[in-house]
Symmetry: C2
Subunit: 165 residues, 2 copies
């Protein structure tokens, strides 16, 4: 495990060459990226973005959860973003698994707390899960009407993104 001292030492190498003190809180590209928490993904780098450019919202799967909508509303209404990129990825742990399978697997470990949990699994087709989330965002009553929503799949084996129409 990374100790507090290691994290602080790592951070010291960062802040001693820090040059981003003047960045605005409003994202320069008016962009919000919604993507998976997956360790293999570095959303800024894969999209050629830098600090200051975009809000990055990440959860298991990169799903349009209620909490992602909360973040989106704050991003759009308080900080002016109007472009959303939804990005799921290949080899995601939420592909090809159902809520029932996850609950059965986790109940012996976590107890009944997982009984009613919706894990927001992706289904069998990652293009289709992106399409579904893009459509659910586009139809969402809390989305600013002048928003552009685009969908992509990230391939963790190649680093390439593929647009989803």
């Amino acid at each position: 495990m990374l100790s507090r001292q290691e994290l602080e030492a790592n951070n010291e190498r960062f802040w001693t060459s820090f040059t981003d003190s003047q960045l605005a809180s409003t994202p320069a590209r008016k962009l919000l990226v919604l993507t998976c928490m997956d360790a293999r993904m570095d959303p800024l780098r894969m999209l050629g973005l830098r600090a200051g450019d975009a809000h990055i919202v990440r959860n298991a799967g990169g799903r349009v959860s209620d909490d992602a909508i909360r973040s989106l509303v704050i991003s759009q209404q308080l900080l002016g973003t109007r472009h959303v990129v939804v990005m799921h990825h290949t080899k995601c742990g939420l592909l090809n698994v159902t809520n029932d399978e996850l609950r059965q697997r986790l109940r012996p470990i976590l107890g009944h707390g997982v009984g009613g949990m919706d894990f927001l699994p992706l289904g069998a087709d990652v293009m289709e899960s992106v399409r579904k989330d893009v459509n659910s965002l586009r139809q969402h009553p809390l989305l600013a009407p002048d928003t552009v929503v685009q969908g992509f799949v990230y391939d963790v084996a190649t680093g390439r993104i593929a647009a989803v129409d």
Copy 2:
């Protein structure tokens, strides 16, 4: 706005020098970082991490929302993480604002859909909001018992992290 063509061109510069095709889905440092979507933050870089090291969960504020718990359960039970870093930051849009103020401000724009929304505001003290979220995680029934939870505040003006005890 970044067009699909621009995003793909940016990504081409990334994937043509991609060397991470062999990364495992299980985070190498067994770490999950929960932090804010804020555009000024680059969690990997500020903590000296690289792709493959950690799950990164981000939402407005970096709060322990229901959806963050969903992500945490998947991270811990399916992918073996046992260390959580909760990081809020200075100058956050969710500091010094209340749910009532946010609802009043957004109702004329978004209608009654925001009436019951909990925006998970941070209160007036970012150290205190980290402390609260760290404690709420440590006491959460779905957290794996052998998990280490640490709290930090990131200063967007200096790039420095400060541990919260």
